[in-house]
Symmetry: C2
Subunit: 151 residues, 2 copies
């Protein structure tokens, strides 16, 4: 288990691989779809076949949630990872039942927070791969990390 990280521990070019792959079942796709994204291609195999996606696929918001899970497991920010916002997120390939996804995060930039002197802002890019190493999602996300050496 990685140790808790502070602002001072992050630097541009640093990378974090997810500690595991996450297998996405049809059950999880349908359960999430029924709750949050009830469209034919996210909740029904047959209806999905006649849709844009030619089959069942995960809501992009389920993929994003799983990516958060993998990121939280692999980057242990002291006090928790506090999201400051998403700059960009793209779904480049459908995620299908039984796909296994993994993430690779790269730190792009670190800077002190203008509004919260006890925090820094970490700008990171996450690339999400399936089991065939195809990119299924990319995102640029900012989060806060506390300063170890408080001013």
């Amino acid at each position: 288990m990685p140790q808790e990280m502070y602002f001072e521990d992050f630097f541009p070019g640093q990378t974090f691989d997810s500690e595991r792959s996450y297998r996405v079942s049809a059950k999880e796709i349908i359960s999430f779809g029924e709750k949050y994204d009830p469209q034919p291609f996210h909740i029904d195999e047959t209806a999905g076949k006649n849709s844009f996606f030619s089959g069942l696929c995960a809501s992009g918001w389920l993929t994003a949630a799983i990516v958060m899970r993998l990121r939280v497991e692999s980057i242990k920010v002291a006090g928790g990872m506090i999201g400051a916002g998403v700059e960009e997120m793209r779904w480049t390939q459908p995620v299908r039942p039984d796909d296994s996804i993994r993430t690779q995060a790269e730190i792009l930039q670190v800077r002190h927070s203008a509004t919260r002197p006890e925090y820094g802002v970490i700008r990171s890019q996450t690339t999400v791969f399936n089991q065939r190493d195809e990119v299924v999602m990319r995102s640029i996300v900012n989060w806060l990390a506390p300063l170890r050496d408080k001013k």
Copy 2:
């Protein structure tokens, strides 16, 4: 129930209010947190108290998922709403147990797709309010809508 909409039905300045408010329970916050964002302030009331957020609050990814639900209910794109990507997403206030959230979407831009001639791209801004009319999230999202009059 709104009728199915095609590319030709969207225009800049058009707005869509969610058809209802969505009440976010502590149970849903914790259940989503345990699955996808297992951090103290998303899964445990007591641990949350000593955190950045001074209490339990919803994962930003749960809020985003609920916003997708409200958007899907209020904007019925023919064949389904196919996400083309997020340009920006910001969480501006924590969403707390028993908050009720609603959305207001505005169409910013419509254009034909360069790569898929049978689709157009709709660029939209969504503002998310709680029951005190405070903005809890903002996003700019693009989605595809099929052309009614195929080329």
